[in-house]
């Protein structure tokens, strides 16, 4: 299926400071795009803009060659966003957390799929424990289980490797690569160095100054 996220002349000014300017992006199916840059260079902001959360920026976004404003619903139906915070309710069990996400995404209510997704991220046996009793890394894995549960081609992941152990990192990296191979597309920020592959592309954001280079 066709998959194309474009940004033209993207610029974001936050309280009189340019985070980036004249940023042109072209993200296709089968790509892993890593957004790099020092702290405060606007990586999270860029991801929020590209995932349609922020509206106050200059420039245009296109989803499958249509302006984003008109295809927002279609875009959101294709998007899976994992934010800085895992979005996991401490008082709910992993299963209940995933059930809400399933309904929110318009997926059928399928308990077997939830069990499978949790097993895939190494949480078999923890399904019915309140998430608050899990470690930070395990909570992050609950969030990552959404990647297994909800089929969406465009992944926007903000620091997904945070708090994950080495095995988990390797598994997630494999998961990203597999997603790209199958024609999906991943946009990711991370301090973890990703293994080089033909699918991997890097975007560098400048030091929050005037020159945001591609």
């Amino acid at each position: 299926m066709s998959l194309r996220l474009q940004a033209r002349k993207l610029a974001c000014e936050r309280d009189d400071r340019w985070l980036f300017r004249d940023l042109d992006l072209d993200i296709h199916a089968g790509e892993i795009v890593r957004v790099e840059g020092p702290n405060g260079s606007g990586k999270t902001t860029l991801l929020k803009i590209l995932s349609g959360q922020l509206a106050d920026f200059q420039g245009e976004l296109y989803w499958n060659d249509h302006p984003m404003r008109r295809t927002r619903q279609d875009f959101l139906a294709n998007l899976l966003y994992l934010g800085h915070a895992p979005g996991v309710k401490a008082a709910l069990t992993p299963l209940e957390n995933l059930a809400w996400y399933q309904a929110l995404a318009g997926e059928p209510d399928d308990e077997a799929a939830r069990f499978k997704a949790l097993a895939a991220v190494g949480l078999a046996g923890f399904e019915d424990l309140p998430a608050g009793q899990l470690s930070a890394g395990q909570q992050r894995r609950v969030a990552l289980a959404r990647l297994e549960l909800i089929p969406r081609p465009l992944w926007v992941l903000d620091e997904p490797f945070t708090a994950i152990d080495r095995d988990g990192v390797a598994a997630l990296e494999g998961r990203l690569a597999a997603h790209a191979r199958r024609g999906g597309c991943v946009l990711v920020t991370t301090h973890h160095e990703l293994a080089d592959s033909p699918a991997l592309r890097r975007i560098r954001l400048g030091q929050g100054g005037d020159d945001a280079a591609l």
């Binding site: 309280d15 009189d16 106050d56």
Partner: protein, 246 residues
């Protein structure tokens, strides 16, 4: 039309045009307020019931009018900012809020002082005074909300939404307070809803109202210009302007 609005929205253009408009409003405000004051204080006849204390009406009513109008203007400016992203509108809204609160305070204070000779007490839960008090709290809310955000863009948006929510509520509040007042104080004498006033009495009132509005416009223009300098301090045209002035 659109081009015009967006041009008006450009801070540089607004700065230039407001510089030419501003003096007229200052002159109008000064002349109208002075004439209105002299007429209202010295020439208008005394009220047959209240005597000379009724002359407080000439500051109370214009201030009360302005207090409400400023809130509405603030909401309109907030709407313009939210829909068309015109920053000037937000700057003006930010500058209007303290003036609106000040005017509400004037209306409250003059109303309270007026209460002493009329009702024999400094405070009466009169419908207009109560509405004014609530309006003052609404102003405090908008000002406090704007001050609470660390990001100015978010502050502007939040204050705009709150001003719009407030302006929808103001008529509801006013109506319900009026209703509450008539329920609890049937047929008491209200200071401002009076039977037909003779021309010599309402003419100075009209002049004062116009004077207060001119004053509001003049102050808002002036302070919005200051706000432009503050927010656009890094822009080249502002730096050049500062160079010229020095």
């Amino acid at each position: 039309m659109w081009a015009f609005i967006h041009k008006l929205g450009s801070p540089k253009w607004f700065y230039a045009i407001s510089e030419r408009l501003q003096p007229w409003f200052w002159v109008a405000a000064a002349v109208l307020i002075l004439v209105g004051s002299a007429w209202g204080l010295a020439f208008a006849p005394a009220d047959y019931q209240q005597g000379n204390s009724f002359r407080i009406i000439y500051v109370h009513v214009p201030a009360a009018f302005l207090a409400q109008s400023i809130f509405v203007s603030m909401a309109v400016a907030g709407f313009i900012y939210m829909v068309w992203k015109i920053k000037i509108a937000d700057m003006a809204a930010a500058m209007m809020a303290p003036l609106g609160a000040a005017m509400t305070f004037v209306a409250l204070f003059s109303g309270a002082v007026w209460g002493v000779p009329t009702w024999g007490t400094w405070w009466m839960w009169d419908a207009r005074l109560t509405s004014m008090l609530i309006l003052l709290f609404l102003y405090f809310g908008v000002i406090a909300l704007r001050g609470a955000f660390s990001s100015r863009d978010s502050a502007s948006r939040a204050a705009s939404v709150l001003a719009m929510v407030g302006v929808i509520n103001i008529p509801i509040i006013k109506y319900s307070v009026d209703w509450w007042y008539t329920l609890h104080q049937p047929a008491t004498f209200s200071v401002t809803s009076r039977p037909a006033m003779p021309m010599e009495m309402w003419a100075p009132l009209l002049i004062m109202v116009l004077g207060f509005y001119s004053f509001f416009i003049a102050v808002t223009l002036m302070r919005t210009r200051s706000e432009i300098l503050r927010r656009e301090a890094s822009k080249r045209w502002v730096r050049e302007l500062a160079g010229e002035v020095s």
